[in-house]
Symmetry: D2
């Protein structure tokens, strides 16, 4: 068994980590922190986990011990924890944005100073960086939108001129705290574009998909759905004719990528670490459309984090993750 | 008073026409047809209209009289009715696709022969063709997606190189008949792209926005919402800097177009004939994003039909349509 | 024209009053107050009303003039405004709970002192108190749950032993302010009972339906819906056999009550002042089930307030309210 | 390993059985039948299971072999299959209604003749009949509504005079086939009571909860939710004061029942076999309210079937079922 801990156990990402850890055959939950719920039973705070976890939340200031820690706290907070965890010999999967980008890009995009400038981390997209992740002490788990967008285009990297990612996300991506955006009457019956040309996740997409020549555009929308990100990629300059074949080849060794002919559905990946990629259609004036579907809280966050942790601890990538989606 | 009739009164578009006719101060409902509900009280068939309309459905074979008729039947069916209505001296607003396109384009796109080839009709987008509509005997009411897409780009016609319309529609656009697409467990929790590079409505958009040079692309999605179409237009090649100003100028005389600075919401136009257009943001690599919101059953169908009928009968365009949206 | 004002114009109830006032043929909006939006255009704050109201919000401390005022503020706040409005000669429809109950009951149920103890008000349920409302200077607009519940049982008053109101409300009843209850992931996919034996609205139901003998029970639920209250009334001790007939007779003069044979649907009354009552079924062990549907923001709040105001100003009850529901 | 088969693998219940069988450590899927999908890959028909099951659907006429069979076909169809399966030495869990009731009651309630009259079966509610289920060759899996209702009252059996079950179910209970009831615009924004005094599931509730004295009433509603049944039980005649304690005692050995103080939520049991029971509140006139939450497709169907099968095969009841719910 490998002891693992969760920093930030009451947010949606933290709770989702706990959900997977309940059934993980190797990882053993050593601790989960929550300042506001310190001392309370995890199952009382997260009633879906009642009777499944027999442990209390502790403060992050407690004497925490684990071989690997998942940091599930907001960006700018993560960089406060990571250095000391690393110093104490723990491996870390950081689910925030703090170590995903080159530090100068980070400071520019997130408009803040990085207090742990220069520390080495691997961008935790296993389908791209598996070898590096296996050796890493610190893995920066990708953002939810970038995961769906990048995976839909990775097989075409260096083969397109321009891509527009028109992404649609469930509201759970905005977190467990009530806000105007998550207010039921504001979202139900609506689909709300936001930060239409300025969302920070665009930086990750550009970093992974373009050396500067290919144009990468991104517009996110919130949909009246709890879980899932559907990404509609409008691509120009692609000459490959057998896209389905190319994608199947490219991802033939990847256990969580399912390349399909039809258009993917969020419900077919819900609750799971699977990524469905399909569509592969070209219109009469040369635009190619590829569509991907992920669960933003799983492959877009907690599931991918466990996938990374599996790799970092020398386990099979699928350990504790080979689980069917919940459909309908 | 002007007597009007509705061919096809039990579909969503027909029912919506009846909803507006209940309150229209000049149009007087002469008849509404339904083969399946022949002889039944309109209010029994459409329970929301109970106590508001005291009339029975009749068959389209009845002896129908009216000054103007709304044809709210599917494409290929409309062309069966229109010639005889016109011959009997009635003006017609056809809500189907049958008279929207050049006839050769229609036959190509809809893969069928046109049985009324050559008849003259005006494309019923009042913000573009007001003068012609006023004089027309037959108006082809635009499609729902084209209405939202065209209006979002009309002020930029001849000023852009390429536009991708990524459109999101409520399921009412698919009609009142249950189908796999409208099955609640198939739509709830999902957002479903379909005909991602081949939807027929693209033809209307091209007809109205491009003389052949500008590229027009279109991908529709169904969202877990009943009413509304939100169109995210990704545009390239626009040089205008004050887009908000340009749109406000362009639409300054149009009573149903509300140009706003922020991103529009479906709930702000729900149930109404208003079109909210906003966004107007440019990303660092030259893509402009404009967003429009309409109610697909109103400005995208029945409301626009009444707007056209008002113009055809010499009434003020807003007659019976100046009504607040239902929000939240 | 009659000049009217709205105290509290930015809540859902206030905004709904404004929606109806836009089209009301006699009432003329003199002012709408909002402390937080003082000086802002109503249409900028409530974007659905853009281009329909050309007025700014003012503070309630402004020099307000009107013949009739709608007080759309929370309970305990209303009693701060009402005395001075009345003193200045205005008629008032209070949409809060402050004047609905006998004052001692109010203080008990709402656990607060009444600062305007003893002032005379009429309980504004027109289907019961029409005559008194016409002469009233202060009308206490009924609660949303009580409206749906009481109207479903009024024809059986004094004819039943026991009724259980199992009510289901859209979340708009909880107001425009985001909360844990209105957080989309907390409500979507759920139906949430709350205050299952202790909701304060039970007091109004008892007051109107029982002289002390008949037992009245109430349990509210919030459903993942924006608008509407569906009330399932489980009734015991009813001996009438032709319930449909009895209800039709009882409500024969009421323009907003539609008694139907089948079970009513929220969508058939959405956005309107109609009350659909139906079901009327008896099970083999003597329980009768009656179901009512209202729009909580209309007949359950703003619409009924305007109905009351119409009566108070000597107008036809239906003035500005005879509008079709929005369905689907 | 124990080989199991599924008759009727493409309905929601069948698909849900397959979802659990993917991860079941002892049961090995021998076959899944589907007439319409005969010869097709299970993962192509049920895309959520792609890459997780490598098997094709077969017809029920194939040469089927298994130690235990789940019959997931409609009532009246099940009785066509069961006799021959039993004859061939297989154990059967029948998820239809065919063997749940005394045969005369069945014929009366389902208005049909039973073609396998008299065959012995055990009503498969493990919390009541565990001992009998362990020895059974044929188990009749309870209905979804009865499961939620009965479990909410079992600890009070013989201690109440009257109970009204006001139940609210997700639409998945109505099956995978599109219908007017499942048409998105008909359900979204609505909560639809149906068969308000005549639903057939009432017979199971009476059978399990009353010897004839206690009155059992039932009204079902469909809510705009995919999964889950929330049952609000209004109970009269209960004298127990410490209900929470009584329920905790009663269910202390039951691994899937979670007795809680607060009101349960559907999202806390979604996708799982757990039953949350809470509320336990008494109003001032003696009505007790108890609320239960289940996932209709799991504890209300497939999960309970596997729980029964585990017991029938001598396994631990929790085998393959101890999985966390999906929340949010």
């Amino acid at each position: 068994m490998v002891s693992v801990g969760v920093i930030g156990g009451t947010g949606y990402t933290g709770a989702e980590l706990l959900r997977f850890l309940v059934e993980h055959p190797v990882f053993d939950l050593s601790f989960a922190t929550s300042r506001s719920e310190d001392g309370n039973e995890i199952g009382d705070v997260l009633p879906s986990l009642r009777s499944l976890i027999d442990k209390k939340f502790v403060t992050p200031e407690s004497d925490l011990e684990a071989e690997l820690v998942f940091a599930a706290v907001p960006h700018t907070t993560a960089m406060d924890y990571v250095p000391s965890l690393i110093d104490r010999g723990m491996k870390v999967v950081d689910l925030s944005a703090d170590y995903r980008l080159p530090f100068d890009v980070y400071e520019d995009v997130y408009e803040t100073s990085h207090t742990d400038y220069g520390r080495q981390a691997v961008y935790g997209l296993p389908e791209q960086n598996k070898k590096e992740i296996k050796k890493a002490g610190l893995v920066a788990n990708p953002g939810c939108y970038p995961t769906g967008a990048i995976l839909s285009m990775l097989p075409l990297k260096d083969s397109f001129d321009r891509v527009i990612f028109d992404s649609k996300s469930g509201i759970s991506g905005a977190g467990a705290k009530p806000s105007s955006a998550s207010h039921f009457p504001n979202l139900n019956g609506n689909i709300n574009p936001y930060k239409i040309t300025s969302h920070r996740h665009a930086a990750e997409m550009k970093m992974m998909l373009s050396d500067g020549e290919a144009m990468v555009h991104f517009t996110p929308h919130v949909i009246p759905v709890v879980r899932g990100i559907l990404t509609t990629a409008h691509v120009f300059g692609v000459e490959e004719e057998d896209l389905l074949g190319r994608y199947r080849d490219f991802y033939s060794d990847e256990c969580f990528i399912r390349v399909i002919d039809e258009v993917p559905k969020l419900s077919s990946v819900r609750g799971s670490n699977y990524v469905d990629i399909g569509g592969f259609s070209v219109d009469e004036t040369g635009r190619t459309v590829v569509v991907s579907a992920i669960d933003n809280l799983v492959k877009g966050a907690a599931g991918q984090a466990i996938q990374n942790a599996n790799l970092m601890m020398g386990l099979d990538e699928e350990t504790g993750l080979k689980k069917p989606p919940l459909s309908p």
